[in-house]
């Protein structure tokens, strides 16, 4: 259960997040979609306790992220977007580090590392430095780090970006089983099809504001999520005045 109320974040004179409120019941998969620069990452950073909000509150299973971080962060697994990892560690060292910082003992971490490596197809990569990983593998090891302490809530910023289709399908299955068992997932993505396929609830965020939120059926109405999104987000431009592009220079 995640309740976000009236979240505000300003950077200098721009309002990046403008009174965002979200309700994510336990046992659901919640998708956040929005154009580039809509404030998705800023919102998720505040939810995960990485960025101090100017106003508003975030409750994770009743614990306020910014008042009672110990309880709130214990219940939360985090995959941030575009933050570095300690990439001079090998994959298994990074998993061990993430697990131990979460208070797991060595035996549990090792056992879960093995399971996670199999689930994400990283068995052969665990002995290599994370700095030598491809973008997709880095995403997968970070995702594994987010899950290692079996949190009740997973907050995943762009979990499928640069991940190959096979791995993406595996990750989707893992997340769906997690949700079926009572876990909660909040994820952001640019892939409308994917969000439409796997999420129960969705919010469309544009320019720091939630334009609409609700169950997937309600938000979509009759059409697809993409159609609804384009209609709400606007910004579709007809490609006039680009005829020179079709006149090939040589």
């Amino acid at each position: 259960m995640l309740v976000v109320s009236d979240l505000v974040k300003r950077f200098a004179d721009t309002v990046a997040v403008n009174h965002v409120s979200l309700r994510v019941p336990a046992g659901t998969m919640f998708g956040i979609v929005g154009p580039n620069g809509a404030g998705k990452t800023t919102t998720l950073s505040m939810v995960t306790g990485l960025l101090r909000p100017d106003e508003g509150s975030i409750l994770v299973h009743g614990a306020d992220v910014w008042m009672d971080p110990a309880a709130a962060k214990r219940a939360m697994g985090v995959l941030p977007d575009r933050l570095r990892l300690f990439d001079r560690l090998t994959g298994s060292q990074l998993l061990y580090y993430a697990g131990t910082l979460r208070g797991l003992d060595a035996r549990t971490v090792k056992q879960r590392s093995t399971d996670l490596a199999v689930a994400f197809g990283l068995e052969d990569a665990l002995g290599r430095l994370v700095s030598d990983y491809s973008a997709g593998m880095t995403k997968k090891i970070a995702l594994a780090c987010a899950m290692i302490h079996s949190p009740r809530l997973l907050v995943l910023d762009e979990p499928f970006e640069s991940v190959d289709p096979v791995s993406a399908a595996n990750i989707t299955t893992i997340l769906q089983r997690y949700v079926a068992a009572g876990g909660t997932v909040v994820l952001s993505s640019h892939s409308m099809d994917l969000i439409q396929r796997i999420c129960d609830l969705v919010a469309i965020v544009v320019s720091g504001e939630v334009l609409t939120t609700g169950t997937m059926e309600d938000v979509r109405g009759g059409g697809s999520l993409e159609e609804r999104f384009l209609e709400l987000a606007g910004g579709r431009k007809t490609a006039e005045g680009m005829e020179w592009l079709h006149s090939f220079s040589d």
């Binding site: 306790g49 570095r84 990892l85 300690f86 001079r88 090998t90 131990t100 700095s131």
Partner: protein, 525 residues
């Protein structure tokens, strides 16, 4: 196209000034220094006009060869500015011949080119004695200019090729260590040469050899002409022309190759097991300690620290030894100085994690655990250093009575310094080199007051150890009275431990409170 490239280079040059005031100040100081050095060389060369040709030739050849070597080696050593890397233009579809020529011409814009042009012209003044010498010197000036220009382009490109992989960049750290260690005896050796008598002979033998090599031939040709050896002059001009020609061929080949060669990829090596993580306790402190130790071993940025710790006291001791300080005093310096540098090097540790520190934040890692864990590598190095180094140092100094105060002062510098670093790194981070960048690269962005924080932390670390130091100095001034030395030991160890504990707790509180701001800081820089 030439105009566009010259414009681009000018723009890049102008942009070096669009930085923080502190950096601009540094650049201006460097600039004034370079202008001063150039002016000095130009004036020196011009005044050589009145010196007899053999001696004048020896001097111009020795100095000139050193300058050409500089153009060749400095980019290799520092991986110098390669903003006009041929690779950057590979997508524009410019023919390689044309690109090579245009990039070499763009190299004309820049301070090194201006400086070498001035020196090459000054060299003509040196040889303005008879028509033949002047003509040869004019040819030499052109060849010198072309050689230096092309040498810098070639070696910058070679450097960017060689240093393309992380492991190669890290290897340069080791090479620098070897060079620095070798430099100290070399300085001592140079200081011992009797310049009044042996100096000119040494200069002559250097110039005789260098004059026939590609780096010195152009400088030497007019000297031969002025001494009446026209044949030698022409021969040397030919050597110089061949050098410039070969450099052009090399540059052309490099450009052609860089345009199509893929970026070098390094082989990933496999590590077995958990390394240090398996050897330390499975608690947050243990894990953070293991992570820190692993980084100290694997990350080139920490290697520079490890390099500075032994080299700094070495240079210090060499300088003092040249100044005539006795061995019994010199022997007491290295251990405390190494402890000081070791503790001080930790004062910006959070910034070097960059945004990876989010993991600590998301895990709600307690501040004191973070602080304590990060200190472990410095303690692992520092404690054996004191335990083994102090008795050796005391034995060399020939006075066993100084051992307690040596241990006291060193422990105080290490422990109190680490306590201080623990607070400073949480409260006053400043931009550091990013993970994966060359340790000699400048931080991408610069904050205000990095230098201020560095120097304040350094002197504060010494000030915190003032009591132990004072007792130790009293002990040295009153040999025979052993109680001073004992006091130094007790005060140094006691205060060190207390300040370390205070630093961990206070630093930990600051860290816990400010960790979102720390993350925001690493994201801005």
């Amino acid at each position: 196209m030439v105009a566009q490239f010259l414009g681009l280079k000018l723009r890049l040059l102008a942009n070096t000034f669009r930085r923080s005031p502190l950096q601009v100040f540094g650049i201006v100081v460097g600039l004034l220094y370079a202008i001063g050095a150039t002016g000095f060389t130009v004036a020196g060369f011009a005044s050589l006009r009145r010196v007899e040709p053999v001696l004048a030739g020896d001097i111009t050849v020795a100095v000139g060869s050193a300058i050409v070597l500089g153009f060749l080696l400095v980019p290799l050593a520092l991986g110098a500015d390669n903003s006009l890397d041929p690779r950057s233009f590979s997508l524009f579809g410019i023919p390689a011949n044309r690109l090579a020529a245009v990039l070499a011409l763009a190299g004309l814009v820049g301070l090194p080119s201006l400086a070498i042009a001035a020196v090459a012209i000054a060299q003509v003044v040196t040889w303005a004695r008879d028509p033949l010498s002047v003509i040869i010197a004019l040819f030499s000036a052109v060849l010198i200019f072309a050689t230096c220009l092309l040498a810098a382009r070639v070696s910058s490109s070679v450097a960017s090729l060689l240093l393309a992989t992380r492991r190669a960049r890290e290897l340069t750290t080791l090479i620098m260590l070897v060079v620095l260690v070798l430099l100290a005896p070399a300085i001592a050796l140079l200081a011992s040469v009797d310049w009044d008598r042996g100096g000119l002979d040494a200069l002559k033998s250097v110039a005789d050899v260098a004059g026939w090599t590609p780096i010195g031939a152009a400088w030497s040709a007019p000297a031969e002409a002025a001494s009446g050896n026209a044949g030698g002059a022409v021969l040397k001009l030919l050597i110089a022309a061949a050098t410039a020609g070969l450099l052009w061929v090399a540059w052309r080949a490099l450009v052609g190759w860089l345009l199509v060669a893929p970026q070098r990829r390094e082989r990933a090596s496999n590590y077995v097991g958990l390394g240090w993580f398996g050897r330390l306790p499975d608690s947050p402190v243990g894990a953070i300690a293991a992570r820190s130790i692993t980084y100290w071993i694997r990350d080139a940025r920490y290697h520079t620290t490890l390099l500075a710790v032994p080299v700094a006291p070495l240079l210090f001791v060499v300088v003092l030894a040249v100044a005539g300080v006795s061995v019994s005093v010199l022997a007491l310096l290295p251990v405390p100085v190494m402890c000081l540098f070791l503790a001080w090097s930790m004062h910006n540790d959070v910034a070097s994690d960059s945004s990876a520190v989010w993991l600590h934040l998301a895990s709600n890692t307690s501040g004191w655990a973070d602080r304590l864990g990060r200190m472990v590598p410095a303690l692992v190095i520092g404690i054996p250093l004191i335990a083994i180094g102090s008795p050796i140092a005391a034995a060399i100094s020939g006075d066993d009575g100084v051992l307690p105060s040596l241990i006291g002062v060193s422990s105080s510098l290490l422990l109190a310094g680490l306590g201080l670093s623990s607070v400073v790194s949480a409260r006053f981070p400043y931009p550091s080199v990013r993970p994966g960048d060359s340790p000699y690269a400048q931080p991408q962005a610069s904050g205000t007051g990095a230098g201020l924080i560095q120097s304040l932390t350094f002197f504060a670390a010494i000030a915190l150890s003032a009591p132990a130091l004072w007792f130790a100095v009293q002990g040295l001034l009153h040999p025979g009275v052993t109680s001073w030395s004992t006091f130094s030991l007790l005060v140094g160890l006691g205060m060190g431990l207390v300040l370390l504990a205070l630093g961990v707790l206070w630093g930990g509180r600051i860290y816990s409170r400010r960790s979102p701001e720390l993350l925001a800081f690493t994201l801005r820089h």
